[in-house]
Amino acid sequence: MAPRIGVYVCHCGGNISEVVDVKKVTESLGGQGDVVLIKDHEHVCSEVGQKLILNDIKENRLDRVVISACSPQFQGGTFMKTMEQAGLSPYVMEMANIREQCSWAHHGQTEQATSKAVDLTKMAIAKARLDEPLEKKVLPLGKRVLIIGGGIAGIQASLDLGDAGFEVYLVEKEPTIGGKMAQLSKTFPTEDCAACILSPKMADVPNNPNVRLMTSTEVKDISGYIGNYEVTVTRKPTYVDPDKCTCCDKCAEVCPVTVPNEYDEGLTTRKAIYLPSPIAVPNSYVLDDKSCLGLFPLACSKCKEVCEVDAINYDVYPREEKFTVDTIIVATGFDIFDAREKAVFGWGKYENVYNALEMERLLAHSGEGKPLKDLGNKVAFIQCVGSRDEQVGCEYCSRVCCMYATKLACLFNREHPGKEIYIFYTDLRAYGKGFEEYYKRAQSEGIKFIRGRVAEVVEDSETKKLMLRAEDTLTRKIIESEFDSVILSVGLRPNAGTQKIASMLGLSRSQDGFLKEAHLKFRPVDTLIEGVFLAGTVQGPKDIPDTVAQASAASSRAIRLMNKGEFEAEPIIAEVSKEMCVGCGVCAEVCAYGAIEMVSSADNEGVRTAVVNEFLCKGCGNCAAACRSGAVDVNGMSDHQISKMIEVM
């Protein structure tokens, strides 16, 4: 059946008609069979104008409306509502922009502006002719959220969501939550003890009735989409029942295996059965089956023998667990830069070169009165190790190193007054609240800040002292000096495990390797994948307050979606013709939203074709332009429509 199109050309109270000859436009449009009526009006968008349209739709059984007026970005919404009022799909209305892009831009050129207005209106008619009455799609949403990563970001997000009544699954691959923050000595600029402020928060997690904590657990697979994420996790056994363990330490005492302690960055040792950290949550010993003498077959059972509460059970195995969530927050954090990549500084080779996280642990221990090492009398910090350094592929600033080095220097200085402490920096960035003041204070306390990049560190093989060479770029003097210890302020790198999660979810990375947010300014915690959010350093280097803020932001964005109970999707989306699709996958590859899946399904005779997820697709049409077969098109913006618009030319 031929469409019945009504066309309205607006004068816009002279805005249009002072340049464009509106009468002539209406006259030039005639002669096309399915254009049932053409009218002009002083203000089509006015009450009167809209009533006119409503009335015409009813009386003339119009099923397409073309409005030749202002920009659709200006009044498009108004007319879409009018269509709905008339009981029509808002997507069978087209606008020709003869104001912003015609009358306002072509003053005094009535003839040409009029002819342009005619063409633009004809193009809108050509498009409207092929419009289909699309409808919005609605997806019911539940209140389940998966949080990947139990660092401070994951903890904050879990608590926010749990408190708000959402069902949280917090997955952490390590045996305890707490992440990198749990390893820190104190935090800048306030110097409050990291463990002291973190441990209550950590303890809140298992106590929150809405949070299901899964430590020693890795995400194996995620499929599906918003509202329907099917998550498969692998739960690794710890062999110790946390509910029974009393942390009496007897098991560790008898354990014959000693290995480097990760929590202390290998500066101390632990046993094969151990407490992951003094503030571990769950607060329980765990058995590390990789360093244990052997469980299959059992080589030693000393720990089990001494356990008075019978908390140890060797007969447990990794198991998979599946659950479904509606949204996901990725908070997989960062890794520190591996300073071995910067071989000129000798980390891992020279005895007295430490990275900053090692320094954190050294200070944490000495702070407790149990010093591990003597760092000597002259200590240097080298900044920007693995940051702002194209040689190692990190162009970005890691944002926290200036301040943590200042903090470590201050703490060390206060513990060992009278020592010489140098910080060799590129630029000193003290941009946060209280940062500049902290920097000033450090200077006043005698920490020497030298603006200059250190070229190399050379160890005296006899004395193990370290020779540093740098240029003080402020005084233009070459500094060559011997130090007892050197601390490398290593930068932040994307966590090694993040890529796996990113691939599962179809998240893209920024050039720096951190996960990419949907919009750097306006959607900093959203991703392009609907229902997936980022929190913390997984998105880029940041300090604790920013991480916490972002975690709360991510929670709030997740709540924004789930609280409504449903998700509404625009109908202007891609559509795949199964008959034409050859399954090459180029569409899925170029889709930024992971909205296209290549499926070989039984109802398609096992043939692999692209399938568009109508809730994830944003209708950008990149897939359609990429498809060589012409199998992908965009509803309401089809190739056929565009080709007919071109034909008007």
Binding site: M580, C584, V586, S629, G630, H640, S643
Partner: protein, 315 residues
């Protein structure tokens, strides 16, 4: 053992061991200087298989959409096409066995006919690198290397990049520096000259679609030329439509074309369509630094982007 014997031996073993259902290779054609694709299912028939510089077809196209287990004889370019087909999920790696044969270049039959001014060649015998051709009242000895197809002359991948069975030793790769000389020559001429050249060249096209069908990477279920909503390209032999067809067909090979020359070889009217695909191949290399069909798992150049891709042409 010569390469042909090795191909036959490999085929025999694959069929006898029931590793494959069919071996796709070449057999002699009735016409001199030609071979024709053949499908061997019985090991008794492997002696039909031949290997010589007349094995001009890219057999990769026969793999697309197969349900059975197939072995295929593949030269360098054929193997690259197979890689692209695998990467585009048109061929399942597990279902195919690639019999890789290093290739010294393929003879372009029409060059010989041109050289002999259209002589009526009734017989051709290849011995070593010399082809002896005979016809009513004449005979001539020709060297293979003098009649290599254009795409073979500067081929940068004569040895298969993917194979399960390798026949013979790798041949030395040739200097491919000059491979774009024809494109470069055209680029050096004026817009007007290029237009006249391509208009004339493409007006020879009769829209038989042999180029498209011969291309192992043209595998759409329905080509844009046959689509009607919208009908991007008219069906008549109007030169504008013919040019539009060739522009878009070439464009669709962007970052995928392996320059096997099958399209141009298939053309009954000798339209130099490789000049289009070769231009794109050159641009892809220049602009995006990529080359098609070298590695399983690689993404073709239109599937990816770099944030710093060249954009000096954009205002």
């Amino acid at each position: 053992m010569d390469l042909q014997a090795q191909v036959r031996q490999a085929a025999r073993k694959l069929l006898d061991d029931k590793q494959v259902d069919v071996v796709i290779g070449y057999e002699a054609a009735d016409e001199p200087l030609r071979t024709t694709p053949c499908f061997i299912r019985d090991s008794q028939e492997v002696d039909r298989l031949v290997w010589n510089p007349f094995c001009e077809h890219n057999l990769a196209g026969y793999l697309q959409g197969r349900q059975d287990k197939a072995a295929v004889v593949a030269k360098g370019c054929d193997s690259r096409a197979i890689v692209v087909l695998i990467n585009e999920s048109q061929v399942q790696r597990d279902n195919i066995t690639v019999i890789g044969v290093p290739c010294g270049g393929i003879v372009e039959r029409k060059k010989i006919y041109r050289h002999l001014q259209g002589a009526d060649i009734r017989e051709a015998v290849l011995e070593g690198d010399v082809i002896t051709v005979k016809g009513p009242g004449f005979s001539a000895e020709l060297k293979v290397e003098d009649f290599l197809a254009e795409c073979c002359k500067f081929c940068s991948h004569r040895n298969p990049v993917l194979f399960d069975i390798k026949i013979g030793e790798d041949v030395p790769e040739v200097d491919s520096k000059e491979q774009y000389h024809e494109v470069a020559r055209l680029e050096g001429s004026s817009s007007e000259e290029r237009w006249e050249f391509f208009k004339k060249e493409l007006s020879k096209c009769v829209r038989c679609y042999a180029c498209r069908e011969a291309c192992p990477l043209c595998y759409c279920k329905q080509c844009f030329t046959d689509q009607s909503l919208p009908a991007w390209v008219g069906k008549t032999d109007d030169i504008s439509d013919t040019m539009a067809f060739h522009i878009m067909r070439a464009y669709h090979t962007t970052g995928r074309c392996v320059d096997c020359g099958n399209c141009e070889r298939a053309c009954p009217n000798d339209v130099q369509i490789r000049l289009l695909t070769k231009k794109i191949e050159k641009d892809v290399k220049e602009l995006f630094g990529s080359e098609a069909g070298l590695e399983i798992g690689e993404k073709t150049s239109m599937m990816v982007y770099k944030e710093n891709d060249p954009q000096d042409f954009i205002k």
